[in-house]
C-alpha cells in the first residue's frame, strides 16, 4: 500500500514541478471551446449540445495526459525498478490511474467554470455535472492506464494512443452525455432518467478496472 502512495506522491510532485500535462490540457480545453463556438456558430449552449461540447473537450484533453503517463517510467527505468522491487506491481498501475484522475479533476476545475462563463446561461447544472464527470474520469483512467502502458513501448506512441483510446471511450461518451444532457437543460437541471446513465458509467468503470487488474502483470513483463 505504501508503494502506491510513494509512486502517486512522486507523480503528483513531478507534475506540480514540471507542469507537463495539466496546463496543456487546460489550454487545450479553452481553445477547444473557442473552436466549438465558431464551429457550431453558437454563443450559448444547453442540453445535448452543451453536453457534447464539454465531454468531447474533456475526452480529447485526456489524450494529452494519457500520452505522457508512462513516459518517465520508460525513460528513467521505472519499469525495471518496479519489477525488481519486492512490491506489488499493481501499485504502479493504481498510482498512475489515480494520478490521471487527479489531472482530470484539476482540468475540470478549470474548464467547467470557463465553460459556464463562456456558454451557459444557468450554472446550476455544473455541480451535478462535476459529479458525473468524476465517474467518467474513473472510466477514462481505467482504460487510459492500459492504453498508455501499451503505447509507451510502441514506435508511434502519439498515434497509437488516440487510435486505441477513443473507440474504447465511446460508451463513456454515450453515458456521460446521456446524463449531462438533462443536467444542462435550458430551464435548469432535470434529474429525471440520469440514474440509468450513472449506472452505465459505474458498470463501465467496474469492468475496465477489473480487466486492468487482471492484465497489468503482462504489460509489466520485460
Amino acid at each position: 500500500m505504501s508503494a502506491f502512495r510513494v509512486i502517486l506522491a512522486k507523480d503528483l510532485r513531478v507534475e506540480l514541478r514540471t507542469l507537463q500535462s495539466v496546463p496543456a490540457m487546460a489550454l487545450f480545453a479553452l481553445t477547444a471551446f473557442v473552436l466549438f463556438r465558431f464551429g457550431l456558430d453558437r454563443e450559448s449552449l444547453d442540453g445535448s449540445l452543451a453536453a457534447g461540447v464539454i465531454l468531447a473537450t474533456v475526452l480529447f484533453a485526456a489524450i494529452l495526459a494519457v500520452n505522457r503517463l508512462f513516459v518517465a517510467e520508460r525513460e528513467e527505468g521505472g519499469f525495471d525498478a518496479i519489477r525488481l522491487a519486492p512490491v506489488d506491481p499493481a501499485a504502479l498501475f493504481a498510482a498512475k490511474a489515480v494520478a490521471l484522475v487527479a489531472y482530470l479533476v484539476v482540468l475540470e476545475a478549470i474548464a467547467l467554470p470557463a465553460f459556464g462563463f463562456l456558454f451557459l446561461d444557468d450554472w446550476a447544472g455544473l455541480l451535478p455535472l462535476a459529479g458525473v464527470l468524476l465517474l467518467a474520469d474513473a472510466g477514462i483512467a481505467a482504460v487510459g492506464v492500459l492504453v498508455s502502458a501499451i503505447g509507451v513501448h510502441s514506435r508511434a506512441r502519439e498515434l497509437i494512443v488516440p487510435l486505441l483510446l477513443l473507440p474504447l471511450l465511446v460508451p463513456v461518451m454515450i453515458a456521460a452525455a446521456g446524463a449531462a444532457e438533462p443536467l444542462l437543460a435550458a430551464g435548469g437541471p432535470d434529474y429525471d432518467g440520469v440514474g440509468r446513465w450513472i449506472a452505465m458509467l459505474a458498470l463501465y468503470d467496474a469492468v475496465f478496472l477489473a480487466i486492468g487488474y487482471a492484465v497489468y502483470d503482462f504489460l509489466l513483463e520485460d
Binding site: 513501448h153 465511446v170 503482462f218
Partner: protein, 250 residues
Amino acid sequence: MFRVSLLSLRNLALASVALLVGGFALVFFYAPNDADQGFIQKIFYLHVPLALCALGGFIAAAVHAIRHLRSGDPVHDARAYVSIHISIIFGLAVLVTGSIWARASWGKWWVWDEPTLVSFLIVFLLYATYYPLRFAIEDRDRQARYASVFAITAGAFVPLNFIAVRMAESLVHPRTFATAEGGMPGEMWLTFAVAIAGMALLWVTLVRFELMAKSARARISRVRRALDAEAPSAAPSRIAPAVPSRAGAG
C-alpha cells in the same frame, strides 16, 4: 497441429458450402416475404449471420488471448490474430450489407438510429487498430503479449458497447430490427438457423485456412534455416556453427 479428422479443413469447407448454399436457397425459395419490408428483408439472412459470426469471432479471439497470456504458447497468439483478422473481414461485410439495407429501406446510405449497426461501426473501428498496434511494437514477445491484452480488453468492450448504444437509441426510436424480427414465422427461423450455421462454419473454415497458410510459411522458414545451417562454411560471414537440422526451430 492439425489432425486429419472429422474436423479437417476439407470437411469443414464442404460442410460450410453445403449449409451456406442450402441456407441461401432457403432464403429465396422457401422463406416467405416479410409483411413490412418486403423483399428487402432478405438481406437480413446475410447481414445478421455475418454480424453474429464476427462478434463471436472477437470473443473467440479474446479467449485465445487469455490462453496465450496464461501459457505463453505462441500458437494461441496466432489463433487470436487470425480470429480477429477474419472477423474484421466479416465486419466489413456487415457494414456494407447494413449500408445497402439502410439505403433500400430509408433512402440513406447510413442510419444512426439502428443501434446494432452503430455499435458494429464502433467495434470495427476499435479492432481495426489491432494492426497498427502490432506493427508499432518491434519486440516479438512484447508485441504478442500486448496484442493479447488488447484482444481481451476489446472483447470485454464489445458487450458494454452494445448496451451503451442500445440505451442511447432506444429512447428515440424503437428497434427497427425488432419489428422485422418480432413474430417471425417458423420458416424464417429455420432459414435463419441454417444461414447462421453455414456462416459460422465458413468463419471456422477461413480461420483454419489462414492458420494453415501461416503454419506452412513457418515450416518453410525452418527448413530454409535448417538447410543453411547444414551447409559447410561456404560463406565466410556465417556465424552459426554446424548444428543438427532441428536448430533454429521456432
